[in-house]
């Protein structure tokens, strides 16, 4: 375990060394690139604000994630029930999905206000589509002979999906879920930067505007640490979720 962890640590150390080294070597002023120690210190002194911001962002990202996953999976199942339905709606969905999510953010503000709802909607939209597309792909790539076997047992479509297709598509769906996690955080933060009452994104925006560069860096560090931890937990769960691989 120690040996396995030591390589990524070495990688991180190299990055940190480049960071600190370039500050000294190029004489970079702290408002361009602050030393890591100062960022850590700023996180600590601003911890109550950081925790409040983080919990607001986590709430938005988490709620949006859950809603998005539910909608994405349900839609994927509905679409995969009939090839006609799939052929009919896929082009439209792909068109809606190919609009960069940031383009919807202003609309979401006007529709849902500047509170959590607009961020939840944005996160749900991103996550929903990612999950939907990976689930459709996963459901499509299952072994048709196994579907036939279940049909020969007299199983209906819903039962086949529940008993076979969904578990069989799990590895692909899970990879969609994994990608969505980090994206949920980023979307929530970017949306907050454009307008919010709370959250890390709002801290980042305000600190940037008020030239409080350490506060900006601290909020960014907290955001990416948090996503990293959640991502790690998910990867850990993933090994248990798809245990038969």
């Amino acid at each position: 375990m120690i040996a396995r962890a030591s390589y990524p640590l070495l990688g991180l150390l190299i990055i940190a060394a480049i960071w600190e080294g370039s500050i000294r070597f190029f004489d970079i002023p702290p408002f361009v690139l602050p030393p890591l120690g100062q960022i850590a210190e700023r996180i600590w002194t601003g911890r109550s604000e950081m925790i409040a911001g983080l919990s607001a962002t986590l709430y938005e990202a988490g709620t949006g994630y859950v809603i998005g996953v539910a909608i994405g999976l349900l839609l994927a199942i509905a679409v995969s029930l009939s090839s006609l339905a799939e052929r009919s709606v896929m082009p439209l969905f792909i068109a809606i999905n190919s609009v960069p999510i940031v383009a919807y953010v202003p609309v979401s503000f006007v529709a849902f206000g500047l509170g959590a709802a607009s961020k939840i909607a944005m996160v749900a939209l991103t996550v929903g589509f990612t999950v939907f597309l990976s689930a459709v792909q996963g459901l499509k790539s299952v072994d048709p002979s196994a579907v036939n076997l279940l049909r020969s047992f007299g199983a209906g479509q819903m039962r086949i999906i529940w008993m076979f297709s969904l578990p069989a598509a799990m590895p692909i769906i899970v990879s969609g879920l994994r990608v969505s996690i980090v994206r949920a955080m980023i979307v929530a933060i970017v949306a907050e930067m454009l307008g919010a009452y709370d959250g890390l994104g709002r801290i980042i925006y305000e600190a940037t505007q008020q030239v409080d560069f350490l506060r900006t860096w601290a909020a960014i560090a907290v955001a990416s640490l948090a996503s990293l931890v959640i991502y790690g937990v998910f990867v850990w769960c993933d090994r248990r979720l798809v245990w038969w691989k």
Binding site: F26, I28, P29, P30, F31, V32, P106, F109, V110, G113, L114, M193, L194, G195, A196, Y197, R202, Y205, E206, T208, Q209, Q210, V211, D212, F213, L214
Partner: protein
């Protein structure tokens, strides 16, 4: 970083060439202009017409400068860019950003002040009965938490209310919460959001101006670094001369100015830009702007801003205004440029 270094090298070469030409011909040469850049606090729009006009009309060129106008955006701030040397000048929206920047070690100095009155105002629906800050008690007020909140709190205090009496919430981007009456009082900039509300046909709104309630602070400072001021004072002077002259021209020829701005950016609507320019011009010519001239660094106004920030604990008591503000350049601007036409 590389770009910054490159710029510095290029700049050195250019000024060296410039110096030689200057010596040879005794005047600024058209083909050896000093290259400088200015960073705006937002995207290109009529709010910055003066700079674009100065560039288009050759006012900078006649000062020996070739100016690049770099737009801002929702996620960058000019203070850092100027301090790092990526840009030479920036327009800084609020005095507290300037003072806060200095406190954080950014060597910024204000050399001119465009707005003699803060562009932020508060609006309320007429039927809400809210007329003055004293009526805010128990209401929800939304404002920009990028500095404007200090002015709102100052207004509340001046009205004899405690901070807890009013619910102040952040505001960004959209006036929808105000229109849908989720907030009772909202903040506007008189050159943009107020016009948006008017354009949407909203009638029956009350505009509450901070200046009418003892909160009268200037805004939109032109800043440069201490280094630029010390090493290239002529460039600073030239930039201010050109900019003020540009503004003078823009205010006198608003239609032409709007057209120049519209050429610089895509997706702008002329009527809105014209309204923006008109509103901005009024703030420029308010108070000292008319009596002393465009762009005046009214020290009394800066001190008022500092006092508000001090009382709110935003800046430390030892903040030194003399370091943060250098009025000398503006005073040297030819008076025919500063007089509003």
């Amino acid at each position: 970083m590389r770009t910054a270094l490159k710029t510095i090298t290029r700049r050195t070469v250019v000024s060296a060439v410039g110096a030689i030409c200057l010596g040879a011909m005794g005047s600024t040469s058209a083909f050896a202009l000093d290259q400088v850049s200015v960073r705006l606090p937002w995207l290109a729009q009529a709010q910055f017409a003066g700079f674009y006009v100065a560039k288009a009309k050759g006012f900078y060129e006649s000062e020996g400068l070739e100016v690049t106008v770099n737009p801002g955006g929702p996620n960058i701030n000019g203070e850092t860019l100027v301090a790092s040397g990526a840009d030479d000048f920036a327009i800084v929206g609020t005095v507290d950003a300037l003072l806060a920047g200095r406190e954080k070690g950014l060597p910024l100095v204000a050399v001119a002040m465009l707005l003699q009155q803060n562009p932020m105002a508060l609006v309320a629906h007429e039927d809400s009965g809210i007329r003055t800050p004293a009526d805010f008690k128990g209401k929800t007020v939304s404002t920009f938490f990028t500095g404007a909140q200090n002015l709102v709190y100052a207004m509340i205090e001046n009205a004899g209310l405690a901070q807890e009496d009013v619910k102040v919430v952040p505001q960004a981007v959209s006036m929808a919460p105000f229109l849908d009456r989720q907030v009772d009082v909202a903040s506007v900039t008189v050159y943009n959001e107020l016009n948006v509300l008017k354009a949407q046909g909203l009638e029956g709104i009350v505009v509450i101006n901070p200046a009418d309630y003892g909160v009268n602070v200037p805004s939109d400072a032109i800043v440069a670094t201490e280094k630029t001021i010390a090493e290239r004072p002529a460039v600073v002077q030239g930039f201010i001369n050109g900019s003020i002259r540009g503004w003078q021209y823009a205010l006198a020829h608003p239609d032409e100015a709007v057209e120049i701005v519209m050429n610089e950016a895509s997706g702008l609507e002329a009527p809105h830009q014209r309204a923006m320019l008109d509103a901005y011009g009024k703030l420029m010519t308010a108070g000292e702007g008319t009596t002393s001239g465009l762009g005046v660094l009214d020290m009394a106004g800066v001190e008022r801003a500092r006092d508000i920030l001090l009382s709110r604990g935003v800046v430390k008591p030892d903040v030194d205004l003399d370091d943060a503000v250098n009025a000398g350049f503006w005073k040297a601007v030819p008076s025919e440029f500063t007089k509003p036409q």
